[in-house]
Amino acid sequence: MCVPKLSLHAFLIVDNCVLSMLCDYCAHRATGMPRARLIQHMQEWAAGQLGILRQFTPDGHIHCTDCVANEFTGYAGSLSHERGIGFNECRLLVRHVCSLLRCASVGTDSPTVLRGLPAFPHKMFGPSRLGDNDISLVVLALQLATNGSPVYVLTNDQDLLTFVSWVRTKREVREFWGDPSLVQGFQSLTYLELVHRECSIQTETMVDLLNFVMLDHSRRKELAGTQKGDFIVQQLGEINKNLVQSVIIKNRQGEAL
């Protein structure tokens, strides 16, 4: 079996949906924990997880833009509603998570530069699709690419990932920022799985996270017992099959260390 040599040594940018997913997973794991302790537990857990990711970065930071971090503040409301925790406590958690990030403002002109590129995929932009906040993450990635190291953008938004792949092919952006081919978008789960393969996340935790995501997927689409629900179960089977391969790689990496 070939062992991919995909280096994790890269600047890291996270989208707010990744932060929400991690917090949701933590809350799910802590079901049954007294509410009074839950927020503190989540704060500690988030700090631990982001600390793991930080160790792969060249600058020891996890980056985000101000506007995207602002979007994450909305998570306090949904967490409060879902878990019945006081809104102020949830806000504390959100603030804590944001304080673990290095947030920057990219300026209002930068998205305009990207929008002006030839053959810009306008159809991907608009209500319920991509907006300027999403572009700000790409601009930040291009700014970080001027350092000459790879930059990874973690998100769960497929449109944003496609947009990053599109920008990578645009050599014109070098006129303003770094080499676009240094910027790479990853689904957060893919990146976490690669971190797992590097022996920095336990296999049990990775399996549990993937099961949580798939269960959430099935439950929220109300698909249990339907053909689509079966398809999700099938996908989960495929994920697990791939994960077995990944664990073999992980074990080899562990032996080599």
Partner: protein, 254 residues
């Protein structure tokens, strides 16, 4: 719970690429090319709405599948196969062709397999059974095939256009006289009369048919049909009219 659902298909593709591709660069090429492939395929679908194209990951289909994507167009389909291009140009070995031949022979509804390389502009070539057989017999023509690669959208458009019937319809630009109010009953009667006349003028090989055409009771049938039209316009039910119009006349008269 997270606000948006995580796209599991995308995750699975990335996970598979990270496990199956031989190098980190190949993993990234594959992941990015897949996303661009979807972007371009969706763009193509939007510009060809009349063909009602559906895009599916090929692995969802029953049975053995080899391609990455399947475009269902009308009553045929096109498969897309991603191939790695480490040197940012199309590369293909002759021994890969037999696998593509199997794929096309096992899927009769697939009219073309488009090979798409992981270059920035997704250079592509279409293959079909005769073309593969020709290449297997003449492997020295492979470089020519690769040099003819074009961006995916051009190739897709050409393949679909080749399947579509081209109607040589020309736009009528001559000015039309202003429409005059007319009696629809009268118009129908005239049109019906002309149609019957055309039928009667047909040349028949067998004399019996010619005679039957000449003896066709035009006036009587016209009367029946015009009465039916009148009743239809007056609100008579379709069922009762159908019965009358399709029923055989009584022997010896109407």
């Amino acid at each position: 719970m997270t606000e948006d659902l995580i796209p599991i298909d995308g995750f699975l593709s990335e996970l598979k690429a990270s496990l199956s591709e031989p190098t980190g660069e190949a993993v990234l090429r594959r992941i990015n090319a897949e996303r661009l492939l979807h972007l371009l395929a969706e763009e193509f679908i939007e510009t060809h709405q009349a063909e009602r194209i559906r895009i599916l990951p090929d692995r969802r289909l029953v049975g053995k599948s080899e391609a990455d994507l399947l475009l269902q167009v009308d009553d045929y389909d096109i498969r897309l196969q991603l191939l790695d291009a480490p040197e940012n140009r199309p590369m293909l070995a002759v021994d890969q062709l037999s696998r593509f031949l199997d794929l096309l022979e096992n899927n009769p509804s697939t009219i073309a397999l488009i090979l798409v390389w992981t270059t920035d502009d997704l250079l592509s070539v279409p293959l079909n059974v005769p073309r593969i057989l020709f290449l297997l017999e003449n492997p020295n023509r492979l470089p020519h095939l690769l040099s003819s690669a074009q961006p995916l959208l051009n190739v897709l458009s050409e393949v679909v256009a080749r399947q579509s019937k081209v109607w040589e319809a020309k736009l009528d630009t001559t000015p039309h006289p202003e429409a005059m109010p007319g009696d629809s009953r009268q118009l129908f009667e005239e049109a019906f009369g002309k149609a019957v006349e055309v039928e009667r003028q047909r040349s028949y090989k067998f004399p019996a048919r010619k005679e039957a055409a000449q003896r066709f009771p035009v006036e009587r049938e016209k009367r029946v049909i015009m009465e039916a039209l009148k009743e239809a316009l007056g609100g008579e039910s379709f069922e009762s009219l159908k019965k009358r119009l399709t029923g055989l006349p009584r022997r010896g008269g109407s």
